[in-house]
Symmetry: C2
DNA sequence: GTGAAAGCGCTAACAG
DNA sequence: CTGTTAGCGCTTTCAC
């Protein structure tokens, strides 16, 4: 016997009335509602979301696909997504997407293809055309964070602009020997971020009339990645730059640790600027440009839920961008 | 019309047969199965997990509750859980549990209480009795990682033993002025971990006939937390210890950064040992005891799924512990 | 404002 | 091996 039937019987009403009273949809007299709620409480009634979904088509659940969990930016996004979603009564099913592979295909074909979610949020994943297609075919809102997805709302910072700003900051301090350490272009995982930040760097350098040849060094997008790159780059004092723009704070922090290991004073002998707003920035006296992961997450949820609302505003289908602020977390300095 | 009915009609069989052919349960002739599968493929049939769950009672989904996402250990556990679960056809719904609060209560009463999950995995959360009760009342397997949950399978390292081992390592190098920097006992979030690691430290010290008064300093369980503690602890050269056992690698790394900022050589002037197996350990020449988050996660999933299997082995209901290895990631040294 | 009835899409008996 | 029959627990018309 369906559980709600028990509640109904106990309250002396029909199943339909109990349903209305409990879900808040439809007209129920105050007196009846009270009786139903009380009856439900008495027998500890909990609705079956499955049964409800089967008829309403809504699952109150959203799928999130993300390529990393342990990198600061992604973890931060995840935390905020979960919080924002939960506050609206949605829960979050997480798919940690590997590089294109059988496993990945399975996530799309087996898990995402089913009508399990009211919407999908894709965080910093470079999706293939087929994947985007499949997601659209679900007929449910799709929102991206960290890069464009054809036909979907997207939240992102202006990566080219942020990189340019960072580089210009170093230029304005008088530096001319500046390097960019960033992600490998061949690394599929991190959206166009790598390319865009390199582009911003190149533009700023060229606008200042400086050469860009040999200024870029790729490395893994992590603290150890930056550390390795730093050991290699700063090893020879005669070829050491006076300033570095790192494509992420994690790389920047790795560079600083390496510099210190080599006895180089930061920031007096070497200026480093990064992008992210990483919480370790202060400890390392790192100048950084905030990427506001929490804001981006909140905006994504807001945008997704707006699309889910009965009176969805088609205007929200455009591209939205989170603000990009140059935040001087600590001192960079002029070259000596 | 139910989608599977379309498939059935197209294949010229009954719905039940189509169901059997597609789900693999029950007898179907090879010929029939082929026709059904083909028909399904032709119209792009995807089963509705909701409808299936409604009748089978299984959701192929597990709930995971966890207090942090951005700390290394937790992120690592999460990644492994997701991977192991996915491989078995389960997806993972994530609840980032805040300290006891209305939000937290809502997670239990509203989200977890519904029969949405085939099982629940609790990672490093100190659950209240009421919460444990609610989880048990679901009648579904519950597995814990990182600390005991009454009546549930639990995977954890031996925290007291690991702490003791770490301290003994420092003692064996000849150190006698050793401090323990760990989590605040009042911090509810981190299970009994704080207390247990402090206990292990105290036991080792006492066994060596050393005093423990004033040897413990609490701090936040993060790199910045360790950094702050380090600045305070190492500021006065006359009161500086020769070795520190940090309750986590993150604290240890913070301590090392602080020490370096103060011009102290690590490890020659100060030995630091931590627990975790953090990937930054090598960069910081940190000695650490591995906590194997990935192993623990895999064991948790294994244990959960075993309980879900039709022939569940009641013997698995016991407490299991992951191996604790003392790994010398790099050099610690004797006091000078 | 409330009740009766008709499903949502699927699987599990049970015959055949 | 396959078809028929009953629901799983809920929401939603549509009358009253």
């Amino acid at each position: 016997m369906s559980a709600i039937a028990d509640v109904a019987r106990l309250a002396g009403v029909a199943k339909a009335t109990a349903s209305r009273a409990l879900s808040g949809r439809g007209y129920v007299s105050e007196e009846t509602r009270r009786r139903v709620v009380e009856a439900a409480a008495r027998i500890g009634y909990v609705a079956s979301p499955n049964a409800a979904s089967l008829v309403t088509g809504r699952t109150q659940s959203v799928g999130v696909i993300i390529p990393f969990i342990s990198r600061w930016f992604f973890a931060e996004v995840l935390e905020s997504l979960e919080q924002a979603l939960l506050a609206q009564g949605y829960d979050m099913t997480l798919y940690n997407l590997p590089a294109v592979s059988d496993e990945r295909e399975r996530i799309f074909d087996f898990f995402l293809a089913r009508k399990r979610f009211d919407g999908v949020i894709s965080v910093g994943v470079e999706l293939t055309d087929a994947e985007v297609d499949l997601l659209h075919r679900l007929g449910r809102p799709l929102v991206g964070i960290g890069g464009d997805i054809p036909g979907a709302r997207t939240i992102a910072i202006d990566d080219v602009g942020a990189a340019r700003l960072a580089t210009e900051h170093l230029l304005s301090l008088g530096h001319t020997d500046i390097r960019h350490i960033g992600g490998d272009q061949a690394d599929q995982m991190d959206f166009a971020v790598h390319t865009q930040r390199l582009t911003g760097f190149n533009r700023a350098m060229q606008a200042a009339g400086l050469p860009i040849d040999g200024c870029f060094t790729p490395c893994a997008f992590t603290i150890p990645g930056g550390y390795e790159a730093g050991l290699a780059l700063f090893g020879d004092p005669r070829r050491r730059p006076t300033a570095v723009f790192a494509a992420s704070d994690e790389i920047a922090i790795g560079l600083i640790i390496a510099a210190r290991d080599l006895g180089i004073q930061v920031p007096s002998e070497l200026s480093v600027i990064g992008i992210d707003g990483h919480p370790y920035a202060e400890m390392f006296r790192l100048t950084t440009i905030e990427q506001h992961p929490r804001n981006q997450a909140r905006m994504a949820v807001e945008s997704l839920l707006a699309a889910l609302a009965p009176d969805a505003d088609p205007a929200m289908l455009g591209l939205r961008r989170a603000p990009t602020n140059l935040v001087m977390r600590s001192s960079t300095s002029a070259p000596r």
